[in-house]
């Protein structure tokens, strides 16, 4: 079954590079947004009001959006966010170059050089991550663990609180749906009676027919399950218990068409 848009994986489904980039975005975005002046001084850039505004708008907001995009919104292959990041990296490099040019005499220029080197490294990582994400998302969609339809069980069982020989004898006399010869009997552990197992797999018909039968409560395994309940009840209590909602006792078809829980009018009394 293909995954729905809402369950495209969890943070752990991201590759390590993507995860690192997502967190790095948040780690950069927070100081850029909350303390742009201090941030600019740390990287050796100008820290006047205009430069601070540029850092908040072009830096902080963008990084936060990218972090959120990678970690929360566009998983597990955040192609569009990574494209935005690569564009942002180009902008960063441009701004750093502009700062370098604007203060030729500054002895803090080494900090700008460091920031430049960092921005280039991040840019390279972004380009690599983007290439990989693009390839993955084009190729085979998200790398989710594949949900396989389990094969249908061939046997089903019930535990009956009675000695094995008694259960076997009752089964011999039982006129039910479950394939009689397929039954085997095992003593249940700890005095729990007898385990009975039978085949529930029938040669399957056409899928639409099988589905219709199941909806009506008439598929083979549903019939066998009801039959085993009747058998267990008969051995353990002497009868099949009826209720107002399910007058026949356990019955899968009756589950869809429950009577109200009130006594049935006596047909002979014509009420």
């Amino acid at each position: 079954m293909p995954p729905s848009a809402s369950d495209l994986g969890r943070p752990g489904d991201l590759g390590p590079l993507e995860q690192a980039l997502g967190w790095a975005s948040l780690a950069l975005g927070v100081p850029q947004t909350l303390a742009p002046g201090a941030f600019n001084r740390a990287i050796g850039a100008p820290d006047g009001p205009r430069a601070k505004l540029v850092t908040v708008v072009a830096g902080g907001t963008r990084e936060l959006a990218a972090g959120a995009g990678i970690l929360a919104a566009e998983r597990p292959w955040p192609v569009r966010t990574l494209i935005a990041r690569v564009a942002g990296d180009a902008l960063d490099v441009g701004l750093l170059v502009a700062s370098w040019r604007s203060r030729p005499q500054d002895r803090n220029r080494w900090r700008l050089a460091l920031a430049f080197a960092t921005a280039t490294a991040i840019g390279t990582a972004d380009v690599l991550a983007l290439a990989r994400a693009k390839e993955q998302s084009d190729a085979d969609g998200p790398p989710l663990p594949t949900v396989k339809e389990h094969p249908k069980r061939e046997r089903t069982g019930v535990t009956v609180r009675a000695p094995l020989e008694e259960v076997r004898a009752a089964w011999e006399a039982w006129d039910g749906v479950a394939p009689k010869e397929s039954a085997d009997f095992v003593i249940a552990p700890g005095g729990r009676g007898t385990e009975v197992r039978v085949n529930v797999k029938e040669g399957a018909g056409l899928p639409p027919v099988e589905l219709a039968k199941r909806v009506a409560g008439r598929s083979f395994d549903q019939q066998v399950a009801d039959d085993l309940r009747h058998f267990k009840q008969t051995v353990e209590t002497g009868e099949v218990l009826r209720s107002d909602g399910s007058p026949e006792g356990p019955s899968a078809p009756r589950l869809m068409t429950q009577r109200p829980a009130q006594p049935v009018a006596d047909p002979t009394q014509n009420r």
Partner: protein, 390 residues
């Protein structure tokens, strides 16, 4: 006969329905003399219990006179006065053999439905949705009682209905809530909810030797009952921060056992939190409104026990599993295995150790069932428990 039937959310009505008949050899028919409305019925009334059908006869707490028995019954005869336990149990399966009557493997014809919703089936219960079998309930003039050789208990003396009817559910349920708390010397026990179940849980905890029992609710007349009839302490959660109060009362330890006698329709003192779970419940994104059980877990002392006797139907949000796990708490819970408590509790009542009638506030005619539900739901007129007389 006349019976109180469910006819949609917040509506019950008393109608003419066919008389019950023997359907199985181990059935009995009971002419009902008294039947009660329970907090559990409110979950159905409010429409939070799935698988109800219009026309379902409600009621799982009832007693009366046996008028007919199937040919497999020889312990009861016409004219016997009996109280009927709310779970239906066969007495012959592995669960019944272990005393887990409310988990009987043979009493729910709709077991397959319960199995789908809960993983494994639950027992049949009278008048309590189709998930628990689709059995007609006891808010009626008469009811059919399956496995009548296992469930009903004969009342031989002349105790009034009011003193023995609580044996059908709320007294054993409260008692089991206290028993699951595993009370030992010096234990402080806190009980959430001062309805009939909470009152009996508190009574049980006291009689089992708790050092202190503290009951939490916001309905002052009910808390008054706790103080006056049981002589126990109370906290009104609308006036007091419960966790802080309990911490102070236990000098920081927290109660050794916390009993949730509130269930899936708990209310929260903070409007916003209350609204959050109300919306989620109303839109069926969760089935529970679990404020009491959340608080019970947070309050409980490290290594303590949380006993959940309030009813839950399915799925809940924001369950503090971390608190439970990291602090070595134990959770115990269950529908009450009423059968195993009826005899010993009846003996205590007969000996005069206590009289459960104190929990009953209203007696009405069966015809007034709709009014009874309304009064009980809205906690009007100092209502703690309503008995209906057919």
């Amino acid at each position: 006969m006349r019976a109180n039937v469910w006819s949609g959310r917040n509506t019950v009505q008393v109608e003419n329905v066919p008389d019950p008949k023997i359907l199985n050899d181990r059935d009995a028919i009971v002419q009902i003399t008294s039947t009660a409305i329970c907090g559990s019925d409110l979950h159905l009334y409010d429409g939070y219990m799935p698988t109800m059908k219009q026309g379902d006869i409600l009621g799982h707490e009832f007693m009366g006179i046996v008028t007919d028995v199937g040919k497999g019954i020889d312990n009861l005869k016409k004219g016997d006065r009996v109280v009927v336990p709310f779970p239906i149990a066969c007495g012959g399966c592995n669960a019944c053999a272990k005393g887990l009557f409310a988990s009987c493997e043979n009493s729910n014809p709709n077991a397959a439905l319960a199995e789908k919703m809960m993983g494994h089936p639950v027992a049949g219960i009278f008048g309590y949705s189709h998930l628990t079998g689709g059995f007609a309930g006891g808010q009626a003039e008469a009811a059919r009682v399956p496995f009548a050789d296992v469930g009903p208990i004969k009342i031989e003396g002349d105790l009034p209905d009011e003193s023995v009817l609580p044996l059908s559910d709320v007294l054993p349920t409260g008692w089991m809530g206290a028993e699951m708390a595993d009370i030992s010397e010096g234990d402080v026990v806190a009980v959430w909810g001062a309805g009939a179940v909470g009152l009996f849980a508190a009574l049980g905890a006291k009689l089992m030797g708790a050092e202190r029992v503290i009951v939490i609710d916001r309905i002052e007349y009910r808390l008054e009952k706790v103080r006056n009839d049981l002589g126990l302490e109370t906290i009104n959660y609308e006036q007091t921060a419960v966790l802080e109060a309990l911490n102070e009362m236990t000098a920081g330890r927290g109660p050794d056992a916390c009993i949730d006698a509130v269930g899936m329709e708990a209310h929260h003192g903070h409007a916003a939190v209350n609204a959050y779970d109300r919306v989620k419940q109303a839109t069926r994104m969760e089935t529970e409104r679990p404020h009491a059980v959340r608080e019970a877990i947070m309050a409980c002392a490290n290594g303590g026990t949380v006993s959940i006797i309030g009813v839950y139907a399915g799925l809940m949000d924001k369950f503090p599993l971390g608190s439970l796990m990291n602090r070595s708490l134990t959770v115990r819970t269950g529908q009450c295995h009423v059968h195993r408590y009826m005899r010993p509790l009846l003996e205590r009542i007969e000996k005069g150790e206590f009289d459960p009638a104190f929990a009953i506030s209203h007696t009405m005619s069966l015809e007034d069932a709709p009014k009874g539900y309304d009064t009980f739901k809205h906690k009007e007129d100092c209502c703690t428990k309503v008995i209906l007389k057919p």
